[in-house]
């Protein structure tokens, strides 16, 4: 009698647990798979909460249309997605719609996530459900008129978005197809690395050829040798994504966050798959322009500034120090048509991302206070056109615009 009472009590407790439990112990593998996909999708990059560890949202994303606040995707009933079903989650991922049919903004990359099969979104859903709910109410209406009218997104979707599925290329290797799925689906690389049209949609025919964002320029990641990753070996791409550092340079800025939260935590097999896809999917991009002549006055002024302010770390011949100070010779980032990356780093400074494989995270100081717009333009022009590099000269207007865009906190932050 006593025994059966205990048994009954245990059963009752187990039932109660099952109802309250965030993760069914039986779906451990599903939750783990979801955790990995959420990592590959870098959910944390945008949805990181004020506590620095949950997905409770609250960040304001800068977009050309205004600031978009990032929602709370913890399973909190009041302020998160506690009431969402797996079907609701799938529709958000696949079609960019919230439960009830209101439209999400494509800052949430459903344009890429639409390629994810239901099984994968269900796994992420299971993972999200297994997390602690965090109460964090996020103001969802931060965009200015008219962009605050979510119904407009129906028209946007009609012009810029087709719900779809990932279709593997049977002519290609399994690694290529896995890489293609990751790059075009969960990892949504194109959100930054593809240029935007005036509506913020992908520019037709320029997929992964580099795009401007938040005062940076996400470089081309096509197989173009001058502008993209065409000259990178598979090992270099894997190293970069895993450790944030290679002999060529280091991840910083928004890509530093991607490495920290996402790629450094992915499997070597998946990173190799990404490298395979990027290296094999083809090159695109403009041919190299004629470099600015070394005798040009801007180049000569730039050379002197380089010698004074840059050469100690990046070395006179632009070769840098492997794993520490980026190599500027044959550097893709500095030769992008849009010089935002180099200007951002010179004006605001930057710090590479520390990872378990490369714990040292060297910093580039902000030179904003000691270089004029003309000097920044000249040194950038010099770097973009020396040691075999070739790219358009930088104008003082471009420097001025970047100075304004990056005004505020200089990196690294303490002096």
């Amino acid at each position: 009698m006593m025994r059966s009472t205990i048994l009954a009590a245990t059963l009752l407790a187990a039932t109660a647990m099952a109802t309250a439990a965030k993760a069914d112990p039986d779906n451990f593998t599903e939750v783990q798979r979801g955790r990995y996909l959420a990592t590959a999708g870098d959910c944390m990059g945008c949805h990181i909460g004020p506590d620095g560890k949950s997905l409770a949202g609250g960040n304001l994303l800068e977009t050309p249309f205004g600031k978009i606040s990032v929602p709370n995707i913890t399973p909190d009933n009041e302020t998160g997605i506690g009431h969402w079903s797996a079907q609701d989650f799938y529709e958000a991922m696949h079609e960019g719609k919230r439960p009830g049919g209101t439209h999400l903004y494509p800052a949430f990359p459903y344009t890429a996530f639409t390629k994810m099969p239901r099984a994968d979104t269900d796994a992420i859903y299971a993972y999200l459900r297994a997390q602690e709910g965090v109460t964090n109410r996020v103001d969802r209406d931060t965009l200015p008129f008219p962009f605050n009218i979510r119904l407009l997104m129906a028209g946007w979707n009609w012009l810029n978005f087709t719900p779809g599925a990932f279709r593997p290329d049977p002519q290609k290797s399994a690694a290529y197809n896995r890489g293609a799925y990751l790059v075009e689906g969960p990892a949504h690389c194109g959100l930054c690395h593809t240029p935007r049209n005036f509506m913020g949609g992908d520019k037709d025919g320029e997929h992964l050829q580099g795009g401007a964002l938040q005062g940076w320029f996400a470089p081309s990641i096509t197989a173009n040798k001058r502008l993209g990753i065409g000259a990178w070996s598979e090992a270099e791409i894997v190293d970069y994504l895993r450790s944030g550092h290679t002999e060529r340079g280091a991840a910083s800025g928004p890509m530093g966050e991607v490495v920290a939260y996402s790629t450094s935590r992915m499997t070597g097999e998946d990173l190799r798959a990404i490298a395979t896809y990027l290296r094999e999917r083809g090159a695109a991009g403009a041919a190299a322009p004629q470099p600015v002549a070394a005798g040009d006055a801007r180049m000569q002024a730039g050379a002197a500034i380089y010698e004074d302010s840059c050469a100690a770390c990046h070395t006179r011949d632009g070769s840098g120090v492997a794993g520490m100070f980026p190599r500027l010779a044959d550097n893709q980032l500095v030769q992008q048509p849009d010089p935002a990356g180099i200007l951002h780093v010179v004006l605001q400074g930057s710090q590479s991302v520390p990872t378990p494989q490369a714990v040292t995270a060297p910093a580039m100081p902000s030179l904003r206070w000691r270089l004029t717009d003309q000097q920044v333009a000249d040194v950038a022009t010099f770097i973009r056109n020396s040691w075999g590099n070739a790219a358009a000269a930088v104008t003082t207007d471009q420097v001025k615009a970047m100075r304004e865009a990056t005004a505020g906190i200089a990196m690294p932050q303490r002096h």
Binding site: A312, V321, A322, M324, V359, T360, P362, A363, S366, P412
Partner: protein, 589 residues
């Protein structure tokens, strides 16, 4: 006072020894907290290349050093004097903040000679007991060079030390120091590139029969990744090294070599701007229970821990033991007690050569450890018969900097001001070079540390009192070696040479060196020191002490290499022996 949850390990001070202890013990799985009285520091944020080379801020205003208002010492030359507080640090400059003095050091990374570790026995055996001066309290170390060798080696690998081996497993190597103790391995990175002065010194010293070799340097010559996965970049010879944090990730320091790996460990925590005020013990005084500290807001906290590691600067470890009433205070009159005994320093002097105008040294391109050395008159590398002193000094030709504010050399006899002074400075600035000596400092019965009877710090604790002077033995030693520097400078082709001998009394005003040693000496019996050969306190087995306060006397070298080796030596004992029998003495008294 609030009592905090207990930790496995509490570490006082987060410099070289504290960061190494913290990293190794956290890797061993222990829950570690380090308490540091200075601020948090990080290369990227605090030693940004855009702002780091600031002579006014760092060298003149001493930005990263401890302020006397926070803690200072009283000083005197002999026990019959009244000690007065040091109100502006001068003779030595204690570090402050994460990285400690390891941030601002020059990077000279030495191993002491095998004979240094059995100093008294060595001299008595070779020259007879009469060579040891009266009241000289030098003693053998309780650990041998052979025991420390693997730990020297590992510390150098953590640092990425640049140098050239002179003795690889007993085989003398050309280009290295033939007098050094045997090394199990070559230096991790090649020596720095010598400049004109070092090349001239090398030739002159060789011509005089000496054996010059490049200074083992914590300024790294080439890109390097250390065993903790931390990366260093090549030195740029910027000349902003000693008294500065390195912005180029080129100087081995706790910030560049340990902290990037340490901060990733989830079982490590640092509390900065928190000053430990005492080590707490059980009522019978036989075990440490943790520490008490005061935070930046003046709140007092008790941090209990199973293991307490004193990793502050030498002087502050000794004082912490004194104010915590752990161990018996040394008294020179009765010659009783051990705490504060055998305080020693360093005996430095040298010569300056003035060269012709076509000899351009370009000393602005320098590095803290850019130097050529000769050890022919260091340790017992030369016959002391008839010299009536013990010890020796290294001879160094270094180029650390020619920073604009404080570099104003003039010809001997030039006026001290006015246009003639300026002209002389212009005539001299690129054409002079010094050759120095860094000499041993022996221990004496009346050179010691204790608590001052009069002066207290901001928290009401007595200041520590330093009683020290240069003694005849060390002055004679220094004079002997300084004479050699004059010969070398002449052989280098100097047109004029000035020689300055070390003179007493010791003064707290001019900068001399931050190599304060002893006071919590390691010893083979409790009679002669504060801690045993594993740096474990003789009376309190869960209390370990690190740093140069362990040295029974100081050698003719910078202390950091030996401090690092002793730290890994202690760690080996803690990890492999102590933690298996916590609370047990590793050496029976």
């Amino acid at each position: 006072m609030s009592r905090l949850p207990k930790k496995d390990v509490v570490i006082v001070g987060l410099g070289w020894t504290g960061s190494i202890m913290a990293h190794e013990l956290a890797m061993a799985g222990l829950d570690v907290v380090a308490i540091e009285r200075g601020p948090w520091r990080d290369t990227a944020a605090d030693y940004n290349i855009g702002t780091a080379p600031d002579e006014l801020r760092y060298a003149v205003r001493q930005d990263i050093f401890l302020r006397p208002a926070q803690d200072t010492q009283t000083a005197r030359n002999s026990p019959d004097q009244m000690a007065l507080p040091i109100r502006k640090y001068g003779s030595y400059l204690p570090g402050n903040g994460v990285g400690g003095a390891g941030v601002h050091w020059n990077g000279h990374t030495w191993r002491f000679f095998p004979s240094d570790f059995r100093l008294r026995s060595h001299y008595v055996e070779r020259y007879g007991a009469g060579i040891i001066p009266e009241d000289c309290t030098v003693q053998d170390w309780p650990v041998s060079y052979d025991e420390l060798e693997p730990h020297y080696d590992f510390f150098e690998k953590v640092n990425g030390t640049s140098g050239k081996a002179g003795n690889l497993k007993g085989a003398i190597q050309p280009g290295g120091n033939p007098f050094e103790g045997w090394r199990s391995d070559e230096y991790p990175t090649r020596p720095l590139s010598p400049n004109l002065a070092q090349t001239m010194f090398q030739k002159a010293a060789t011509d005089l029969g000496m054996h010059p070799f490049p200074l083992p340097s914590g300024n790294i010559s080439e890109a390097y990744t250390n065993p903790y996965g931390v990366r260093l970049a090549p030195c740029t010879y910027c000349g902003f090294c000693e008294w500065f944090g390195c912005a180029n990730y080129s100087k081995a320091s706790p910030l560049t070599c340990v902290m990037p790996a340490l901060v990733r460990q989830p079982n490590f925590e640092a509390r900065t701007l928190c000053e430990v005020t005492r080590v707490n013990t059980t009522p019978d005084g036989k075990m440490a229970t943790g520490v008490t500290y005061v935070d930046a807001d003046g709140r007092e906290w008790e941090q209990p821990a199973d293991l307490v590691l004193l990793c502050a600067y030498a002087l502050f470890n000794v004082r912490l033991l004194m104010v915590s009433k752990i161990g018996a205070q040394y008294d020179p009159a009765s010659n009783t007690g051990t705490l504060g005994r055998n305080y020693a320093y360093q005996t430095n002097a040298g010569s300056v050569g003035y060269f012709s105008k076509d000899t351009n040294f370009n000393s602005f391109a320098g590095a803290g450890s850019l130097g050529m050395m000769a050890d022919d008159y260091n340790g017992d590398n030369f016959d002391h018969t008839g010299l009536s002193f013990i010890g020796g000094a290294n001879i160094n030709c270094t180029t650390t900097n020619a920073r604009p504010i404080r570099t104003h050399p003039t010809q001997p006899g030039a006026p001290k001001w006015g246009s003639a002074w300026k002209r002389s400075m212009v005539d001299t600035v690129n054409h002079y070079q010094s050759v120095g000596t860094q000499g041993s400092s022996m221990a004496y019965r009346d050179c010691y540390l204790d608590l001052d009877p009069t002066y207290t710090d901001r928290l009401g604790r007595p200041l520590m009192r330093m009683t020290f002077d240069f003694k005849e033995n060390d002055l004679k030693m220094s004079r002997h070696v300084v004479d050699k520097t004059a010969e070398i400078v002449r052989a280098m082709g100097a047109e004029k040479v000035t020689t300055s001998y070390k003179k007493g009394p010791w003064s707290v005003v001019p900068y001399q060196t931050t190599h304060n040693t002893g006071g919590a000496v390691m010893s083979s019996t409790p009679r002669d020191g504060v801690v045993n050969r594993y740096t474990q306190h003789w009376d309190v087995p869960n209390l370990f002490v690190a740093g140069a306060c362990l040295f029974p006397q100081n050698a003719g070298y910078n202390p950091t290499g030996t401090v690092g080796a002793l730290t890994y030596w202690a760690l080996e004992a803690i990890k492999n022996h102590y933690l298996k029998n916590p609370g047990e003495a590793l050496v029976q008294a």
